[in-house]
Amino acid sequence: MDRIAIVGLDCRFPGAPDAGAYWELLMRSGDGISSVPRQRWDAADFHSPTPAEGRANTTEGGFIDDPDAFDNEFFTVSPREAAAMDPQQRLLLQCAWRAVEDAGIAPKQLAGTSTGVYVGIMGNEWAQLHLTDYDRVSAQVGSGNGYCMTANRVSYHLDLKGPSLAVDTACSSSLVAVHLAGNALLSGECDYAIAAGVNVALTPALSIFYNQAGLSAPDGRCKPFSAQANGIGRGEGVGAVVLRRLEDALADGQQVYAVIRGTAVNQDGRSNGITAPNRWSQQEVIGAAYRRAGIEPDQVAFTEGHGTGTVLGDMMEVSALGHHHAGRTGRPMALGSVKGNFGHTEGAAGIAGLIKVALSLHHGTVPASRFAAKENERLDLRGKGLRLLKAPLRLPRGASVAGLSSFGMGGTNAHAVLESAPPAAARPAARPDERPRGIGSALFTLTAPSPQALHRNLAAQADALSARRAPVGAVGWNSHRVKSGHRHRFAVSAPDTATLVQRLHAAVADPALFAGLTGEAGGAPRTAFLFTGQGSQYPRMTAGLYEESPLYRHFLDEADAALRPHTGRSVRDLVLTGDESVHLTQWAQPALFAVGHALGRTLQELGAEPSLLLGHSVGEYAAACLAGVFPLDAAARLIAARGALMQQLPDGGGMLAVLAGPEELAERLADEPEAGIAVVNGPHATVLSGDSMALMRLDKEFERDRIRTRTLRVSHAFHSHLMEPMLDDFAEVAREVGGGVPRLPLYSTLYGRLLDGEAMDADYWVAHIRRPVLFADAFTALRDAGPSHTVEVGPSPVLSSLTRKLPPPESGTRPVVTAPVRGADSGGQDLADTVAELYRGGLDPRWENAYETRDQAPYRLSPYAFSDEHRYWTAGPARRSGAPAPTVTPDGPARPAGRSTDTGVLVLERPAPADPVTEAALSAIGQVGGYEVAELGPLLRLYEDLGFDSVMVMELKKRLEERLPALAELTVQDLLPRLASVGDLVDFLREYCAPAIDSTQERTA
C-alpha cells in the first residue's frame, strides 16, 4: 500500500486568501485576475499592445493580496531580517504553519522530528532586485534570498530535522516537490512531509518574456482548452500540503482530504527544442503515474490539466491524454485547469492543482473549468476520450480517481494520480472507553504569543464556528491539541457550540471579560485543594456531575464501593435519590468523604495534582486519603465508624457560630465549662460547641452585647467534650486502620499548621474529634506557602467564602479561588470552569481524560490568523529604464558553437533577397534567433541549426505577422510543418502571401 495521505493544507491564491475561499472561488468559477498592483511595477510603463522590445502585452495578472504582510513577531524574526527576506519565504512560513494546524497537529508537536520540507519554486525576483545592489547586501539579505532558504526557513522555524530542499523544475516545480516528498515518506526517510509551492511576481520580466515568446495572453488570463485561448497569464500563489503515509494517518484517526496513489516525473530529453512541450514525454509520464498507481486509464474520472491555454501546449497535452483515454469505455474523462481562474502560478502551479484535486475529491464535486464553455473544437476532445468541465461534476458515491499534470518549460514533466480518502468504514473503529473519561462539558482553549494575537484569533474562531454547526466535543478536543503551545492562554467551558460561540463573541467584544478569560502561562500552577467539612452536604449533592461526567461517576462509585461494607447501604444512592437523611451525621460524614474523594481523584486524573492540601474537620479524611495516609478502603472504614459512633451519642449538644475571635470569647467561656471553642474559621469567626443549655446562655449574652451569632443545624456538639463517650470505640478502629505520614504537604486543622513528618495515625484522628478545628491558622499557613489557586473539593464552596474573609497575605496576591461544584445545579460545566481557570494559570490538563473517546475525534478548526500589521516590501516598484543602458547588452539566444567559421559558406548559399516576403521572412528569423540576415542560408534547419524551439516559433509567427499582415489567418499549427529549413519557410510564405500581395498591388495600381 504505497499510498500517501494529504492530511492538512493551506493556500493563498489571487482572489482567495485561504483554502476555504479557494474552494469557493473554484465553485463559483470566479476570476482572480486584476490589474498589476502599483506596488509591483508600473504596468502602463511596460505595456505595449503591439509587439515591442521590453514590453508586455498585458497589464493584468493574478496577484495575491497583501504579499507584503508578515507576522514577524509570531516567528520572532526581527523587522530588519523580515525586510530582507524574500516575500516567498515569508508567505511559505505562514502557509506551512497553517497547513500543519489543518492536519490537526500543533506545529510544536513536530519540533525535533524528521519531518521533511519540499518547496517548489521558480521565481527568484527578490534576489534579482536585492542582490544586485551590492552596497546593500547585508547578512540578512544573504539569508533572505535563495531558493534553498524557502524550505530551510520552514525547517528552521518549525524545528523540523528531515530533508529540506527547494525544487526548481520551472512550472512543474511544486508537483515535483510533492513527488519527492511522497518518495521520502515511502522510503521511511521521514514520517511527515510538508510539500509546498510559492510564486510571487515582483518584476515584469516573465510577462515580457512570455510576450516576446508570443505566449502572453493580452487579457492576462489563461483560457485552458478554450477556443478563446490566446496564451498565458501570470499568477501568484502559495500553497502547502502536509503528507503522511496513509496507513499512519488512518491508524492515528487523522482526517484525510485525499490519497496520492502514485506520482511520476520524467524529462523530454533532447526534444524539439528545450522549451517545446513534448507530447510523447507527457504521454509517458502519465502512463508511468498510472502504472505506479496501479490503475487503468478508464478508472480516472477527471484530470486537472496543466492547461496553460497556449495553442500548442493545449494541443500537446490533450494528445498525450488522448493516447491513454481515446478508447475508454463509459463517459469521456473530464478535464479542466485552475489556470483559468487566476493564471499560471508557475512555481506554485503544481500545488494549486494538487489542492484543487484534493478538495474536489474531499467535497465529491469537481468545479467547472473557466472558459471551458467555449471549447476549442480543434482539440477534438471527444475523439480523444476527453470532455471539458463546463459545469461542476458531482462525483459518484464511493472512491473516485483523479489525475493531475504539471509540465515544466525545460521539459521536466510530472503527473500524479489521486484517489478519494478511504471511507470511515475503512478506519479502525473507535474503541469503547476502556477506562472512564469525560467531565460532562467541553472546554475551548486557544493560545497565542501576545494578547493582541489571542484576541485576533478568538475573533477568527468565533466567526468560523458560527458559520456552521460543529460538534462541541471535537471542537474543544482539537482546540487543546492544535491550538496549544503559546504563552498567552484563553479558556472557557463550552457546554455546547452555540454557547461557545456566544462566549467567544462576548470575550472579543468586552476587554474586561477577555482579560478575565485569559492568562499568561509561566509554569504549572501551585494548586491547593481545600476539602469541605460537615454542614456543606445536601440531598442530591453533585448529582448533576454524576450524571454528566463518566470520570466523576467512576470515582464516586469507587468510594461508594469502598464504604458499602462499613455503611451497610449505598451512600451514593442515598445522596443521589435526595434522601434527607444525608444530614444525619451517620451519613453526612461518609457522604462528604465519598464526594471529596471522587472530586479529588477526578481533578487528579485531569492533571490537576494538588501541591498543598487542607481539609476542614471531616474534610481532612479525603485530603489524607489523597495524600496517601491510608488506602481508600481503610479511610472508608474509619470515616464510616466515625459517623456511626457519633450518631450513637445522646442528643443534647449543639453548635453556635459567633462573629468574634477566640480571644474575645475566652473570658466568657471560662464560666461555661459545658461549652467550648470547636472551630476557629477566622479572627472574627468562631464556632462554639457543647451543651445546648450552656450555648443558649452564651447566646443571650452575645445578643445583649450585640455580637452576631447563628445556631448551626447539627445533631451533635462536634469537637466538644460531649464527643468523649465515643472516643475509645473510635480509637480501637483507628488503631486497626492505622495511618502514615502524608506524602503531600498537608495543612492540619488539628494543629493549625503544616504537618511536619507527623503521622496521621489513630492518636491524630482521636484528637481530631475532640479538639477544635484551627482552620484559620491552617489556611493562613497554607496561603503563606504561596499557592496560585485554591480548589474547593466539596459539594458547595463554603471554604472559598471563608478564605475570602481572611486578611490578605502580607506579601504576594491572594490565590485564585475555584470551585468545581458551586451548588445544587452544578454539573460538568462548573468542573470545566475550574479546569479552564487552572489552564489559564498554566496547568496542562490531561485532556484525554476530560473527553469521552467519542469526542476525541478530529475536527478542522480554522487555522492561525496571522497579523497583517507589519509590511515589508522593496524600496520601490520596478520601473522601466529611460534608455537602453550602454553597459547592459543582453545577448540573444546562444549561438551554435563554431558557427562563425561557417559564415562564408552560409553567405554563399543565401538566396537573393529579391522579394519583400523573403526579406520579411529572413529579417523575422534573424530577429527571433539573433542572427544577421546575411547569415541565413536556405539550407539551415531552424531547430537543429538555428536552435529554434516552440517558444521561438510562437514569436517567429508574431514577427512574421507584423511584417506580413496576410499571415493573420495562418495558425501556428499551419506553420509547424513548414519549418524544416529557412528555404522551406521562405518558399511557403511566398506562396501563401502571393495573392495578397497581388491584390495590394492591384489596389495601389
Binding site: E24, R28, A373, K390, A391, P392
Partner: protein, 344 residues
C-alpha cells in the same frame, strides 16, 4: 440527485398561464412611482408587467390563489383531461397568500378538487422547476398518472404605491420596477397527450454552501411587524456577477446529462431576471443555433410564473423532434435549476 430519465417517461401535456389585469407600461409605472421612465427602459429593460393590485388605489384585485387557479384551469382544459383525473397538485411560490393554509390548498379548493395530495414548495425563481421536478418524480414512481404543477407569485405585495421614488437609490428603485405578478401551470402525464412534449430532465440543486444570500424576502409577525427591516433586499452586484456564470454551467450540465450537443438544441429558455439581464445572460449562454424564448420584458419578473410563460411561448413554435432547454437560477441561496423538453 439527478433524475433517471430512462426509468419512465414523463410528459408535459399542456400549459396554462394567468396574468392579472392590463399590462402596465413604463410610462404609467414611472408616473405612479415618481420614477424615471428612461431609467427603467435603459437599466431594467422591462417594457410591461401585470399587477394583482390596483396601481392607483393599491387595492388587491387578485390573490395568488386566484391566479394559480386560473392558470391551472386553463392547463387542465388544454390537456383535455378530466379534472377528476388530477392525482396531485404541486405549487411553487415565494409569495403565498397566507402562511396557512398553504395557498396550494386554496387553489385546489377553487378548482373544485378534493381528496388529492397537495404540495407547496417555498422557493423563488427555482420554485416552478422544483415543482416540475417533484411532479416528474411522482409520476415516474408509478404511483400517480396525472398531476398539476403550478408556479406563481404576487410580488406586488411589496409595491407600495404611496411611496415617492423620485429620490430613491437605484438599488431601492429596482425592487419596484423589476417585478410583476402572474401564475402558470402545466399538466404532467405518464403518457403522451396534448402538447406531446416529453419532460426529459429536471435539475434542481442547492449550490449556496457558505454563500451569502443574493436575495432576502422577510416576513413579519406580530412580534416584529414594526421592525425597521426592508421587506425585500437584493445583492444586485452578486447577482450580476454570479448568475451568468451559473447559467452557463447549468446549460452545460443539462447538455452533458442528456448527452445532447449544443447544435441539437432548437430553443433556449434563459433565466428571466429582467429584460436587460436576460439579454446579457443569453449572450453568455452563446447558443446561436437555438432560438431564445423569453418573456420577462413583457411580463415583468413574476417569479415562479416565468418558466410556464416561457413554455407557453415555446409550444407555439416547437415542432416534432425539436429540443429545448430551460435555465433558472434562484439567487436567494444560489439554487441551480433547469429542465429539458422534447416534442415527439
Amino acid at each position: 440527485m439527478s433524475d433517471h430519465p430512462q426509468d419512465r417517461q414523463v410528459h408535459l401535456a399542456s400549459v396554462g398561464t394567468a396574468l392579472p389585469g392590463e399590462a402596465v407600461g413604463n410610462a404609467e409605472l414611472a408616473r405612479v412611482l415618481g420614477a424615471n421612465e428612461e431609467w427603467i427602459e435603459m437599466f431594467i429593460g422591462t417594457r410591461t408587467r401585470h399587477f394583482a393590485r390596483d396601481l392607483k388605489t393599491g387595492a388587491v384585485r387578485w390573490s395568488l390563489a386566484d391566479l394559480c387557479a386560473q392558470a391551472g384551469e386553463r392547463a387542465i382544459a388544454a390537456a383535455e383531461v378530466d379534472p377528476g383525473d388530477i392525482d396531485f397538485v404541486v405549487l411553487g411560490t415565494a409569495t403565498p397568500d397566507t402562511l396557512m393554509p398553504a395557498t396550494v390548498n386554496n387553489v385546489v379548493d377553487l378548482l373544485g378538487l378534493d381528496q388529492v395530495p397537495t404540495f407547496q414548495l417555498q422557493s423563488g425563481c427555482a420554485g416552478a422547476v422544483q415543482a416540475l421536478s417533484l411532479g416528474r418524480t411522482l409520476i415516474a414512481s408509478g404511483e400517480y398518472r396525472t398531476g398539476l404543477v403550478i408556479g406563481g407569485d404576487v410580488c406586488s405585495k411589496h409595491l407600495d404605491v404611496d411611496r415617492d421614488l423620485a429620490k430613491a437609490a437605484p438599488s431601492d428603485l429596482v425592487n419596484f420596477v423589476l417585478f410583476g405578478d402572474g401564475a402558470g401551470a402545466a399538466v404532467l402525464t405518464d403518457e403522451p397527450r396534448g402538447a406531446q412534449v416529453v419532460l426529459r430532465h429536471v435539475l434542481n440543486r442547492f449550490t449556496g454552501l457558505g454563500r451569502k444570500p443574493g436575495q432576502v424576502i422577510e416576513w413579519f409577525g406580530l412580534a416584529d411587524r414594526y421592525d425597521d427591516r426592508q421587506a425585500l433586499t437584493e445583492d444586485y452586484k452578486a447577482i450580476e456577477e454570479h448568475v451568468p456564470v451559473m447559467a452557463v454551467e447549468i446549460l452545460w450540465e443539462l447538455l452533458g446529462e442528456l448527452d445532447w450537443s449544443q447544435d441539437e438544441l432548437d430553443y433556449i429558455l434563459p433565466p428571466q431576471l429582467s429584460g436587460r439581464m436576460t439579454r446579457k445572460i443569453t449572450e453568455q449562454l452563446d447558443v446561436p443555433s437555438a432560438t431564445e424564448i423569453s418573456c420577462v420584458a413583457d411580463t415583468g419578473n413574476n417569479g415562479n410564473a416565468l418558466p410556464f410563460l416561457q413554455i407557453e411561448r415555446l409550444l407555439e413554435k416547437m415542432t416534432a423532434g425539436q429540443k429545448a432547454l430551460a435555465v433558472a437560477i434562484e439567487s436567494s441561496k444560489w439554487i441551480k435549476a433547469g429542465f429539458a423538453l422534447e416534442r415527439i
